[in-house]
């Protein structure tokens, strides 16, 4: 059960499924004075940044 939960956490992290939650945690710690991005804005910004560089190999 523990292994399964670990795998699920890994899968969420590696696929970016939990990226917004991580961002919120980071934002609350680093910039508590500013309003964080909404889920949709965060996701589209993140995607645009990821696809402007070499992301996949041959």
């Amino acid at each position: 059960m523990k292994a399964l939960r670990g795998f699920w956490a890994w899968l969420r992290a590696v696929s970016g499924d939990d990226a917004y939650e991580r961002y919120l945690a980071h934002h609350a710690a680093a910039h508590p004075d500013r309003e964080p991005l909404g889920r949709r804005e965060f996701f589209s910004q993140r995607q645009a940044a990821a696809w402007a560089k070499v992301k996949r190999c041959c």
Binding site: W10, L11, R12, A13, V14, S15, G16, D17, A19, Y20, R22, Y23, H26, H27, A30, R39, R40, F42, F43, S44, R46, Q47, A48, A49, A50, W51, A52, K53, V54, K55, R56, C57, C58
Partner: protein
């Protein structure tokens, strides 16, 4: 006690590895099974990882616990300290593409032995070291890219060569991958319908992840993967429908044009619509299928029907021309050493590392896994009867059609019968399997036979088209992501001359640069399609040379950094693979340019074709395309020379930088002082 246990374990690993490798190498004339290769591989990997890789990491690179850029900068966007297993997953998913599946399949024409040895030795001593050293160098430089490091360490010449090399390899890579899927889809309504369906499925997933449930990557991917599996089944339904099947039954040229339109659209459209969702789907599909293949091969332990060495080591091979040295080392780039990995190892992965000591596991380890994927592909190709393997992978321009092809291939000592090929094609749900060059279809046949034996007979056609879909989806991902990256690089480059063109969101520039990139690879794809010899014979070696030269550039950067940072005693860690790659690529390029054999030498091929055209011995359909082929052969010859010139330029630059450093060091410290 613990040390005794360790000693026993590692002696056992060494002994087993030596036994398996010896068994493989001496099993002439006897067929061996897959476990021999897997045992040899696992032992070589274990020793390479624990002994050489660990030594390089701790004694040469001197990784320590200093804060990584991710920990120091931690901006929540690019620099994010991430769990090591998550970084490993990211890094492996990024480096593992279609290359390690196609290259080993083509190289199987030499037999299983040369490819296996190069995949194992090349990875342990070359590819893993390159990936790890570049990852380390980039981590110590705040995640700078390979191009930036080349400029910083070698100067503007090195930086320029890295940029040009990367752009060239992108163009050649995309065209050859396009050719591979064209050959899988031509006159195959099932494959074409299934692959076409992946586009609307990706768009649907894109809308889901953006509009309906923003950022729910796993939900969207699960829906997409389910739809993809449905598309495999649906393709079979289309194939049996008398009207619908005609909509998806096309020759190679229309499919090639469709791929060019698709590539252009993917580079221009917003990423969330097509590129990003397709990438999620292809990554899950890829990792799942590769894992399934590994399990099936280990479970089934199939016998390899391909001999250890074939007569084609002498250079007369029907799939591509050229002797085993240097061409096996060119053909298998990804899976042994791939320059493209240096682009991921610098820039992206270093910004996620939490602990420098994980560089060994992430850089060295994920390349070992990629090498294992290449070995799986090699096994899947060698499981086929050699006659069948050659019938699928040889172009009609080389062995003729149907009965003639069967007779020619059987005369090589690899018996195959016409009705056998027809029965196989029927089982796979295809009209014909002859001349489906490029490696993907023969790999799909191999995978289908392995999967159906392991997971239930009778579904061969479904497994075959599942394998084709799996290959096509991540070839298309490489194709569209590559076109887009190429567009950005070109915009960045042209922005130096016309600033407006450098604005990545200015639409005229977007359209122009995307069009230029698609035009460049589209040209090579077009020529590959109209070439009666199959095109792979020309394009794959060109791609291999380009990729190995990019690897050489990365190793030059690594060597220069080792020397400049007081590790000059160990410069051979990257210097030896660099010397080997230089020898291999220079020899291959020399032969591709200078050889008198019209199948091997570009200029000899052009002259031969021109002479045939002038004397009127070519049939009319070949005479019509001959002028374009002649032009292309000469262009490829010049391109090869450009690649090699680039390599020697950067080598000279590296030599200059290293010598200058040595001279300064010895001037500062006479009488052989210690640094």
């Amino acid at each position: 006690m613990a040390s005794l246990g360790k000693w026993v374990l590692w002696s056992g690993v060494t002994g087993l590895g030596a036994l398996a490798a010896g068994g493989i190498a001496t099993a002439q004339g006897e067929s061996i099974n897959a476990w021999w290769l897997i045992a040899a591989a696992v032992c070589v990997y274990a020793i390479g990882y624990r002994v050489y890789g660990a030594w390089v990491a701790t004694r040469v690179l001197l990784v320590d616990g200093r804060p990584t850029p991710a920990v120091r900068i931690d901006d929540g966007r690019d620099f994010v300290p991430t769990n090591r297993w998550v970084v490993f997953g990211h890094h492996f998913a990024a480096i593992a593409g279609p290359g390690p599946l196609v290259g080993p399949t083509l190289a199987a024409q030499f037999g299983y032995l040369p490819g296996t040895l190069w995949i194992l030795i090349g990875a342990v001593l070359g590819g893993c070291i390159q990936d790890m050293v570049i990852l380390f160098c980039s981590t110590r430089r705040d995640g700078r890219s390979l191009g930036q490091m080349a400029r910083d360490e070698l100067g503007p010449v090195g930086g320029g060569a890295a940029l040009v090399g990367t752009l060239m390899i992108l163009v050649i890579l995309i065209s050859v991958l396009g050719l591979v899927i064209v050959n899988a889809m031509k006159h195959s309504p099932w494959a074409t319908a299934t692959v076409t369906a992946t586009i609307p499925i990706a768009v649907l997933v894109g809308f889901y992840m953006r509009g309906i449930r923003p950022g729910r990557v796993l939900e969207g991917s699960a829906i997409g993967v389910a739809l993809l599996l449905l598309a495999v089944w649906g393709g079979g339904w289309v194939d049996h429908h008398p009207l619908l099947r005609t909509w998806f039954d096309h020759g190679p040229l229309p499919i090639a044009y469709a791929i060019m339109v698709y590539g252009f659209a993917a580079a221009v459209l917003p990423v969330w619509l097509l590129l990003a969702p397709r990438d999620y789907l292809s990554t899950f599909m890829k990792l799942g299928t590769v894992a399934l293949l590994a399990i099936a091969i280990i479970w089934l332990n199939p016998v390899l029907h391909m001999p250890a060495l074939t007569q084609f080591v002498d250079g007369s091979g029907p799939i591509f021309a050229g002797k085993v040295f240097p061409f096996v080392f060119i053909t298998i780039a990804c899976g042994a050493i791939s320059g493209f990995h240096a682009l991921v190892s610098s820039g992206t992965t270093p910004k996620l590392l939490t602990d420098e000591r994980d560089i060994h596991m992430i850089g060295y380890g994920s390349m070992l896994l990629e090498s294992f994927v290449a070995l799986m592909a090699l096994i899947a190709a060698c499981v086929l009867e050699p006659g069948v393997f050659f019938a699928i992978n040889t172009a009609p321009g080389v062995v003729g059609e149907g009965a003639q092809a069967v007779a020619t291939i059987s005369s090589w000592g690899f018996p195959v019968a016409l009705d056998q090929m027809q029965a196989l094609a029927r089982e796979m749900g295809e009209a014909t399997l002859f001349g489906r060059t490029g490696g993907a279809p023969s790999l799909a046949v191999g995978m289908a036979s392995i999967f159906s034996s392991a997971f239930g007979q009778g579904l061969l056609a479904v497994w075959y088209h599942f394998a084709i879909m799996f290959e096509a989806i991540f070839i298309l991902t490489t194709l569209d992501a590559g076109t887009r990256v190429g567009r950005f690089m070109l915009q960045d480059f042209l922005g130096n001359f016309v600033p407006a063109l450098g604005r990545t969101s200015w639409y005229p520039s977007v359209l122009l640069c995307s069009g230029l990139i698609v035009g460049a690879w589209g040209y090579f794809l077009y020529i590959g399609v109209i070439d009666p010899a199959g095109g792979v014979n020309i394009l794959w070696p060109l791609f291999g040379i380009a990729n190995q030269i990019l690897a050489a550039i990365a190793l030059c950067v690594g060597t220069a950094i080792l020397v400049k940072t007081g590790r000059e005693r160990y410069f051979w860690v990257t210097g030896l693979p660099l010397a080997w790659l230089t020898a291999v690529t220079s020899t291959a390029a020399w032969q591709k340019v200078m050889s008198d054999d019209p199948r091997l030498g570009f200029f000899a091929g052009a002259s031969d074709l021109a002479a045939k055209l002038a004397s009127g011995v070519l049939p009319p359909e070949k005479a019509a395309v001959a002028p374009q082929l002649i032009f292309n052969l000469r262009l490829d010859g010049w391109l090869t020379m450009l690649f090699v010139a680039l390599l020697w330029l950067i080598l000279a630059d590296t030599g200059r930088v290293c010598l200058r450093h040595w001279r300064r060091a010895s001037a500062a410290m006479p009488a052989g002082g210690q640094a």
